[in-house]
Subunit: 241 residues, 2 copies
């Protein structure tokens, strides 16, 4: 089996803006390819063909050396995102091992549509099933099996994160949270215009206030955490931040 990883971008260090690892200083590796086509995807260049020429097939050792070249001694965490990194098996598994050998922690974000054994090795796994507004359908059987397996055997922490654009998405979030009540659960307002240029912070903060107020009023969300995308508040829709 090939160990090459389709990489579309590497950057950092920057500050992780979302979810359980919000505020963490990290490098990013973004893999190319996704089994989803979310209507509002903020990284559609990873799957829509528009940036296909930038994709590079890299050995795990090359990813590591690339990260060290860009980030120097200014990081101890690497976040692997996509696209869906769970489309890739052996290459990511080896990369995790190389990073761990150097004492570097690994965070992953994936939608929970595919399983990889390396989920169990990750320091912080974020499973982010997509709500109805995405246009995607949740594979509940797969999600059940992923959360059961990491619940029993994961070496690191794991959490669920649901992005919410509207009331229907919110109801979906309640459904997810109730289905997995013991899994740390994060709500995040969606960015409903991922191509708008310039300062979008007022719009995003308005959406955060809306979601705050929904969660505050709802006894079903007492154990949820509600967080923004910090990077989008600071760096707006710019790529590579």
């Amino acid at each position: 089996m090939s160990t090459k990883i389709p990489v579309i971008e590497m950057f950092g260090p920057t500050i992780q803006g979302e979810g359980a690892v919000i505020g963490v200083k990290t490098m990013f590796v973004r893999t190319y390819g996704c089994d989803y086509r979310c209507s509002w995807c903020d990284s559609a260049f990873t799957w829509d063909g528009s940036a296909k020429d930038l994709r590079v097939m890299m050995e795990p050792e090359e990813v590591l050396s690339g990260l060290l070249e860009i980030g120097g001694d200014r990081f101890d965490t690497v976040t692997i995102s996509g696209g869906n990194p769970a489309l890739i098996g052996e290459g990511i598994s080896e990369l995790i091992g190389l990073l761990h050998d150097r004492g570097i922690k690994v965070a992953i974000e994936t939608q929970g549509s595919r399983w990889q054994d390396w989920f169990l090795e990750v320091d912080a796994l974020t499973v982010s099933p997509k709500p109805p507004s995405s246009g995607m359908a949740t594979d509940w059987t797969m999600l059940d099996s992923i959360l059961t397996e990491v619940g029993m055997n994961a070496r690191g922490s794991y959490s669920l994160k649901v992005v919410v654009f509207d009331d229907i998405d919110y109801d979906y979030a309640v459904q997810v949270h109730k289905r997995y009540p013991d899994v740390p659960f994060y709500l995040q307002p969606g960015n409903d215009n991922v191509t708008e240029e310039g300062d979008i912070s007022a719009r995003l903060l308005g959406r955060l206030e809306w979601l705050f107020n929904k969660a505050i009023a709802d006894p079903d969300m007492n154990a949820a955490r509600v967080l923004p995308q910090l990077h989008a508040l600071i760096w707006y829709n710019k790529r590579g931040k």
Copy 2:
């Protein structure tokens, strides 16, 4: 010993805006009285006399019933802040017990200038030593002993948080982080005008970007987390949010 607690305000549920518990849905109890007089304190009404008439001496049972009256079934966490709640012994200890009996979690914020045995019972303890811009001097002997004791015996989680207003504060934050490298460490930009009315989010996001860039460039901050005050981004300088 009296078990009465000097309470200046109770409110919620709202979303915790800061530190390790950022995004958590919580009620707030703010105690009256502080051993510090930070120059930029955002809750100076807890100690400067301006709101002294609002202070109520409450038995722990009264605090519990007040919280239940205000928050109904819409919370499972209570945050006790101040002022400095560590000025209060038996009353807070009893309140923590009453909350735990009902399955309610307790988060505390204190500057680390005083010890209380109930630190060990708290679900999330935030110790927030104050940087030079506050005008306060850190009692390192006390801070050492608090962090040693909670490191050995705390039942819940604990973390350090340092608010940073300028480069001198930042150097202080580095000093704190290096002194306690194994304690989860949070950096937070200070709000340098706590009486400004209206929308202060652009100013606060500017300070967050400044602090992001400081931490990103600094190998000493690889393990730090950098977070804003979410409540101030949404609700500005309003009290009781």
